[in-house]
């Protein structure tokens, strides 16, 4: 895949920030509105796949190495399991939501029943959302990138 025409590239570069920001929004507001790490990560990765389609896999592979992506994914997974372990250290058991009800970040509890809530709620859930989001972005994009690169390499031969 050598990339598409200039028109496609321009339109992609204009529209890509909106998709990425929407993805990040979905990740960040996972505990308030529909969405979360997986959904936002999938949207973000879809935006990146658009870049891949427009600019070609060889170009993308030069900019973003597959090794970096897998590293990022390992980091996301590591953060996730680390947060779970912190529940064991600060709280009592693995996966304990030890931040909720405390006065630290994300510690407030929303009023019961329907209504608007602060983003500063839900304890470790937003942190986990970000860790999973990072992991899903890196993971899904790594899959598509590696497959696309391998296929384009094969076609060159």
């Amino acid at each position: 895949m050598s990339g598409m025409s200039k028109i496609v590239k321009t339109i992609t570069s204009i529209s890509i920030p909106f998709i990425l920001i929407y993805g990040l929004y979905v990740i960040a507001h996972g505990h308030l509105t529909p969405g979360g790490g997986f959904q936002g990560g999938a949207i973000f990765a879809s935006g990146l796949v658009m870049v891949l389609v427009a600019y070609g896999s060889v170009w993308t592979m030069e900019k973003i190495k597959e090794k970096n992506l897998t590293m990022l994914e390992s980091l996301g997974a590591f953060c996730f399991i680390l947060i779970a372990f912190l529940g064991l250290v600060f709280g009592t058991v693995f996966f304990n939501n030890y931040l909720v009800g405390s006065n630290s970040i994300f510690g407030t509890v929303p009023a019961a029943g329907s209504g608007l809530a602060d983003i500063n709620t839900a304890g470790v859930i937003p942190l986990m959302n970000f860790a999973v989001g990072l992991k899903v972005i890196a993971g899904l994009f790594a899959i598509v990138l590696v497959m696309a690169y391998a296929i384009s390499k094969k076609e060159e031969k």
Binding site: A77, F78, F85, G87, F94, N96, N97
Partner: protein, 520 residues
């Protein structure tokens, strides 16, 4: 709470989380140094082994141990995920970790010349995590998730040698089969959820009514798990996957197959434990039938094979039949109430799970060693290897005696239990089982003759003994085989009998959870 108590209380989660953490960190160590990565992976697995042994000791002495994720106490609608570890789970976990440690040690020299070893070690650790999760969990959906982890990592590892079409194809077959199986498992879980609004195994077992939908779920779960466990006629992926994977992977794959078998046992004895005997067609007789067919097909197909690894794979199918036969006999003879003969059969079946893992595992390791030394697995081209590979030959002979159930190896002890209990059920079954065992001996004597004995072939003059790490890995398993064979009673009273009792005692399994919630 002192440190030891903290460790024991949290040991179920450490057993799963530590290999998982190791898998996440392996790529980072791989970037630094190859040897460091290998040492790290082995180190992680040895720690896990220690944890599993500590957990088993605790469970056998103090009874079932539970672990609640995310909270300390439980209220009656069980919303959280639970680990529920009884002696049976521990028994299977011990098999998994032993095989994983041996496979990691064996891989050191065996896989040395390949690229992509970072991912290889990561996937091997993930596979072990998946198996341990399947064996320790007490939640249906969690079981499904770990089943998927195990299948995906196994399928990728089966296809590790991507420059061979057959390996890739075997990996594809395995992933298709396991995905379809897992999807039907998920469907059955949804059926349970829709009726009882519960995902915990004990809660489901407590409230199960054996309605029409429960029977549908039972059939789908038996079918899917039997397919993953390699029971005839759903075994066909097994020879492909076993024979085309690298030998170290095959060793862990044996344990993965048995983890699915564990799921089948958990299903029959715990979830449907109260109800299974009410069915007019006894599930026990069904399992006995499956067992006999599996034994016969595995052994007869093994006679016809000319490829060493495929031959061992079919022998493995036969060995799976013995376990199913033992367990099925246990179910049949225990149908009105728990009887001594049924418990003996169950003990034989469960003990044979461990023995099969060790025996077949040793055979695959020997096959891998032959492949490493000669780059050849076809029996028509091998010959006279005993001259250059003395230790490997010795290990092969140990494995041969163990697989065919000859004393003083471990295979004899478990097969004796199975023969005697099936004889009480129906003598013909026992006779078939013994005949199949004799055939297994004949098959492996053929391998011994055509691969190791005979004149020294000129093309194998340069063959050398395999490296020390591979010999060490084989020696570990051979040592365990001999110890188990010479002192079977210790193993049976200390590990197997608690496992069999735990499996039968589903009331205890259920009441443990109910007592945690404050009910019952």
């Amino acid at each position: 709470m002192n440190a030891l108590e903290f460790f024991v209380v949290n040991s179920p989660i450490f057993a799963v989380a530590i290999p998982l953490l190791g898998a996440f960190l392996t790529p980072i160590f791989g970037m630094i140094n190859d040897k460091l990565r290998n040492v790290f992976a082995i180190f992680i697995m040895i720690i896990t082994t220690g944890i599993v042994f500590a957990l088993s000791y605790d469970v056998v002495t103090n009874g079932i141990r539970t672990y609640i994720f995310g909270a300390q106490d439980l209220s009656l609608p069980v919303v959280r995920i639970l680990f529920e570890v009884d002696a049976m789970s521990c028994f299977m976990a011990i098999i998994s970790v032993i095989l994983a440690v041996v496979a990691l040690i064996y891989s050191w020299a065996f896989m040395k010349e390949n690229t992509g070893l970072d991912k290889y070690y990561t996937l091997l650790l993930l596979m072990t995590t998946g198996m341990l999760g399947m064996e320790l969990t007490g939640d249906m959906f969690n079981f499904f998730v770990f089943l998927e982890i195990t299948s995906i990592s196994s399928a990728a590892l089966v296809a590790f040698w991507i420059n061979r079409g057959k390996s890739v194809e075997a990996g594809f077959k395995y992933i298709v089969i396991s995905t379809i199986g897992a999807l039907f498992v998920l469907f059955s879980i949804a059926l349970f959820y829709g009726q009882y609004n519960a995902l915990n195994m004990a809660i489901i077992a407590n409230s199960i009514q054996f309605t029409f939908l429960d029977k549908i779920a039972l059939v789908l779960l038996i079918g899917a798990l039997a397919m993953k466990a390699g029971i005839v006629p759903l075994h066909m992926w097994l020879p492909d996957a076993y024979s085309k994977a690298p030998s170290s992977v095959t060793l862990v794959l044996v344990a993965a197959t048995q983890a699915s078998l564990y799921g089948l046992l958990r299903l029959c004895f715990t979830i449907y434990g109260n109800m299974i005997t009410l069915s007019p067609v006894s599930i026990g007789w069904l399992l006995v039938l499956f067992g006999i067919v599996t034994i016969l097909l595995g052994v007869i197909m093994a006679i016809a094979q000319t490829d060493l690894k495929r031959l061992i794979a079919f022998a493995a199918v036969g060995e799976i039949g013995y376990m199913i036969l033992g367990i099925g006999t246990g179910l049949v003879t225990m149908s009105p109430s728990i009887s001594a003969a049924g418990l003996t059969a169950l003990k034989g079946g469960i003990f044979h799970i461990m023995n099969d893992a060790l025996d077949i595992g040793l055979m695959f390791l020997v096959a891998g060693a032959i492949f490493y030394a000669t780059r050849e697995t076809s029996l028509d081209r091998l010959g006279g290897l005993a001259r250059n590979m003395k230790y490997t030959t010795a290990f092969f002979i140990i494995g041969l005696l163990a697989v065919s159930g000859l004393p003083p190896m471990n295979g004899f002890a478990s097969k004796l239990l199975i023969y005697e209990s099936t004889y009480q059920l129906n003598p013909i079954l026992a006779i078939i089982a013994i005949l199949a065992s004799i055939l297994l001996l004949a098959i492996f004597v053929k391998v011994l003759h055509s691969a190791f004995l005979g004149p020294a072939l000129p093309r194998f003059n340069e063959v050398k003994e395999v490296p020390k790490s591979m010999l060490f890995a084989m020696a570990i398993i051979a040592g365990i085989i001999i110890v188990f064979g010479v002192f079977p009673d210790i193993i049976i009273t200390n590990i197997v009998e608690p496992a069999a009792n735990a499996l039968v005692n589903n009331a205890g399994y259920i009441s443990k959870i109910l007592s945690l919630t404050g009910g019952a």
